[in-house]
C-alpha cells in the first residue's frame, strides 16, 4: 500500500499538473524523512517545474529584448544574474530556458519510454521469433552511444523543438524496452495471466489490461532516471548548435561561443547557465535514485 502511494507522488512530481490530494501529503512527508536526498532532488525539480509553469510572472525582463546601453552588466538589482553581451537579462533567460529544458527533457523521456515500453511489452509477451527480431533491432540501437545517435538524428531532422525531442528519445527506446521486457517476462508466468489466457481473453487485451499496469513501477523509475540524461543531452546538443533554435532561450546555447568569448570579463555568462543545467540534472538524478530505492529495489544500479 505504502509503495503504491509513493508511486503516485512520484507521478505528481514528474507531472505537476495533477493536483495533489490530502492522502498523499502524509506519504510525501514520510518520503522526505526516509529519503532526505531524494526529497532535496524533488524540491529542486519542483523549483524548475514552477519556473517553467510561471515563466512570465517570474521573469524580470523580456528574455529576447536586447539593450545596447546595458551590455555585460554585473549581477545586481537591475539584472539579478547580470546581462549578456547583447544586454539580455540572464536571470530571465534562465527562467525561460527552464521551460525548454523541461519540455524537451520530459517529452523526449516520455516518448522514448512509452515507445520502448510498448516494444518491450509486445516483444516479451509474444516471445519467440518476434522477441528475437526485436532484440536484435534494439541491440543495433543500443550499439551507439546516446550522444552520437542524437547528433546524427538532429542533423538529419534539422534544428526544431520537436526534432530535438525525437532525436533525444530514440536512444532511450532500447533502454526502456529492455527494462519493461524483463519485468513483463516475469509477470507473464504469473498465475492470473495464465488463467486469463485460459479464459480465452485476447492477447492484446491481456497485454494492456493485465500486464501493462503491473509494469508501471519500473516504468516510472526508468523515466525519472532518464530525465536527467535527457536534459543533459539537450544542453549538449544546444551547445553544439544542433539543439533547440533561437529565439527560445536554451541553457546549452547560452553557454556556446559567445559565453566563452566573454568569460573572463563576465564570468556570470558561463557560470549561471552551467549551474542551472547542473542543478536540474542533479535534482532529477537525486529524485530518480530515491524513487528507485523505494519503488524497485531490484533495479538498483541498473
Amino acid at each position: 500500500m505504502a509503495e503504491r502511494a509513493v508511486a503516485d507522488t512520484g507521478l505528481e512530481m514528474v507531472r505537476p499538473a495533477r493536483p495533489a490530494t490530502g492522502g498523499t501529503w502524509a506519504s510525501v512527508a514520510r518520503f522526505c524523512r526516509k529519503k532526505p536526498l531524494g526529497a532535496a532532488g524533488g524540491a529542486l525539480m519542483l523549483v524548475i517545474v514552477v519556473a517553467a509553469l510561471f515563466v512570465e510572472p517570474l521573469s524580470t525582463h523580456d528574455p529576447i529584448a536586447t539593450d545596447a546601453s546595458n551590455t555585460l552588466a554585473r549581477p545586481g538589482r537591475d539584472h539579478w544574474l547580470g546581462s549578456d553581451h547583447l544586454g539580455r537579462d540572464i536571470y530571465s533567460r534562465i527562467v525561460h530556458g527552464s521551460r525548454v529544458s523541461l519540455i524537451v527533457g520530459v517529452l523526449s523521456t516520455l516518448l522514448g519510454s512509452v515507445l520502448g515500453g510498448l516494444i518491450g511489452l509486445l516483444s516479451a509477451y509474444f516471445g519467440g521469433k518476434t522477441d528475437l527480431i526485436t532484440q536484435r533491432f534494439l541491440d543495433i540501437l543500443q550499439g551507439l552511444p546516446l550522444l552520437v545517435l542524437a547528433l546524427v538524428m538532429s542533423a538529419a531532422l534539422g534544428p526544431a523543438v520537436h526534432n530535438v525531442i525525437i532525436a533525444i528519445s530514440v536512444p532511450i527506446i532500447p533502454r526502456a524496452a529492455r527494462v519493461i521486457r524483463s519485468s513483463v517476462l516475469s509477470i507473464r508466468e504469473m498465475q492470473y495471466i495464465e488463467s486469463a489466457r485460459a479464459l480465452g481473453i485476447r492477447h492484446l487485451r491481456i497485454a494492456f489490461r493485465h500486464v501493462l499496469p503491473n509494469t508501471m513501477g519500473p516504468f516510472i523509475v526508468l523515466a525519472t532516471a532518464q530525465l536527467g540524461s535527457a536534459i543533459l543531452v539537450e544542453a549538449t546538443l544546444s551547445f553544439l548548435g544542433l539543439g533547440v533554435p533561437e529565439p527560445y532561450p536554451s541553457w546549452g546555447r547560452m553557454l556556446s561561443v559567445s559565453a566563452a568569448e566573454y568569460a573572463q570579463k563576465a564570468p556570470w555568462l558561463v557560470l549561471f547557465p552551467g549551474v542551472a543545467i547542473s542543478l536540474a540534472v542533479f535534482g532529477s538524478n537525486l529524485l530518480g535514485d530515491a524513487l528507485r530505492d523505494t519503488l524497485d529495489p531490484r533495479l538498483r544500479g541498473a
Binding site: 552520437v148 553557454l255 552551467g274 547542473s278
Partner: protein, 299 residues
C-alpha cells in the same frame, strides 16, 4: 545499423556540395550537378550503399568527400588519441570510483556515505562541456597556462603528452567514476547482505578481509559490466571534451563530418564506434567467464 545511419545522413538537408559552395558564397546549380556526379552522390541511396558495402568487403573504406583522400588515411591518426583518452578516463574512474563505492557501502548511511553519494551524483550532473570550459578558462585566467593545443607525441615528450591527456581524462573520468562508484556501492550493499558474508562477519573474521575476500569478489561482476559500457560510451561521447581541449580525436571529427555532410567519414566513424562497442561487450563477456566460474560452467 549501418543502413539506418546511411539513410539518415542522406536524408539530412544539404550535402557536401552545398557546403563547398558555401565556402565560396554562392551556388551554381549546373556546376553543382557536375560536382555531385564527380563525388558519386547523384546516384540513388541504395546504389551508394551497395558501393560502400562492396568497398568495405574489399577493405576499402571509401574516400572522404572533403579531403579527397581515403577515409582510412583521414580516420587512422584519430583513433589512438580517442582510445588513449577513453582508456585514461576509464583508469581514472576505476581508481576513484571503485574504492569510493566500497567505502560508501561499508559505511552505509553515515555522513561519509552521503557526502560520497552527493559528490558522485554531482559528477553525473555536471555537463562535461561546461566542466571542460571552466577548467580551460579558469587555468588561463589564474595561471596563464593551458595544456598544449597541438597533439604532443609521447615519443617526443612524454611528460608534455601526459599533461595534455591527464586533464581532459580527469574531467571526463569524474563523470565515469561517479557512475562506477554508484554501481560498486549498490553491488557491495547487496553482497554484504548475503548470508555467507554475514556468517564471515559473525565468525569474527577481520573486517577488511571480509570485504576484500568475500564481498568485492562477488560484487565485481556488475562493476565490470559498467566499465565495459562506459569505455564504449567514451569512445563516441568525448565530442565536447575533445573540442574544448583541442585534441584530434574521433568524436570531434565526427561532429565536423556531420556538419560537412562528409558521408564516408561519418559512416566509417560510426562503424568504428559500433565495433568498439561490440568488442568491449565481448571483452566483458570473456572477463565474466574468468571472474565467475558459474558462467564458465553454464556456457
Amino acid at each position: 545499423m549501418s543502413v539506418v545511419i546511411f539513410v539518415l545522413m542522406r536524408l539530412a538537408p544539404g550535402d557536401i556540395v552545398d557546403v563547398l559552395f558555401a565556402a565560396a558564397g554562392y551556388v551554381n546549380e549546373s556546376d553543382k550537378q557536375f560536382l555531385m556526379k564527380e563525388l558519386g552522390i547523384d546516384k540513388p541511396i541504395w546504389a551508394q550503399y551497395v558501393d560502400w558495402l562492396r568497398g568495405l568487403a574489399a577493405g576499402d573504406l571509401g574516400k572522404s568527400y572533403r579531403y579527397d583522400q581515403s577515409a582510412w588515411e583521414v580516420i587512422g591518426p584519430l583513433v589512438p588519441v580517442t582510445v588513449e583518452l577513453a582508456a585514461l578516463a576509464t583508469i581514472f574512474s576505476i581508481l576513484f570510483g571503485v574504492p569510493a563505492g566500497i567505502l560508501s557501502a561499508v559505511r552505509q548511511d553515515t555522513t561519509l556515505d552521503y557526502v560520497l553519494r552527493v559528490v558522485s551524483l554531482a559528477g553525473l550532473s555536471l555537463p562535461s562541456f561546461w566542466l571542460g570550459m571552466v577548467i580551460i578558462l579558469g587555468l588561463v585566467a589564474w595561471a596563464g597556462w593551458i595544456p598544449a593545443v597541438t597533439y604532443v607525441s609521447p615519443r617526443e615528450d612524454l611528460a608534455g603528452h601526459l599533461v595534455q591527456f591527464l586533464l581532459p581524462a580527469a574531467a571526463v573520468g569524474y563523470r565515469s567514476s561517479a557512475l562506477l562508484m554508484r554501481i560498486t556501492r549498490s553491488a557491495m550493499l547487496e553482497v554484504l547482505r548475503e548470508d555467507y558474508v554475514r556468517t564471515a562477519w559473525a565468525k569474527g573474521q577481520n573486517g577488511r578481509a571480509v570485504i576484500w575476500r568475500h564481498a568485492l569478489k562477488n560484487a565485481i561482476l556488475p562493476v565490470v559490466t559498467v566499465i565495459g559500457i562506459e569505455f564504449a560510451f567514451l569512445i563516441g561521447g568525448l565530442v565536447v571534451t575533445e573540442t574544448v581541449f583541442n585534441l584530434p580525436g574521433v568524436a570531434r571529427f565526427l561532429v565536423e563530418a556531420i556538419l560537412w555532410r562528409d558521408y564516408p567519414i561519418v559512416q566509417n566513424l560510426v562503424l568504428f564506434i559500433a565495433v568498439v562497442v561490440v568488442l568491449s561487450n565481448l571483452l566483458v563477456d570473456l572477463l565474466y567467464g574468468w571472474l565467475d566460474p558459474r558462467v564458465r560452467y553454464s556456457s
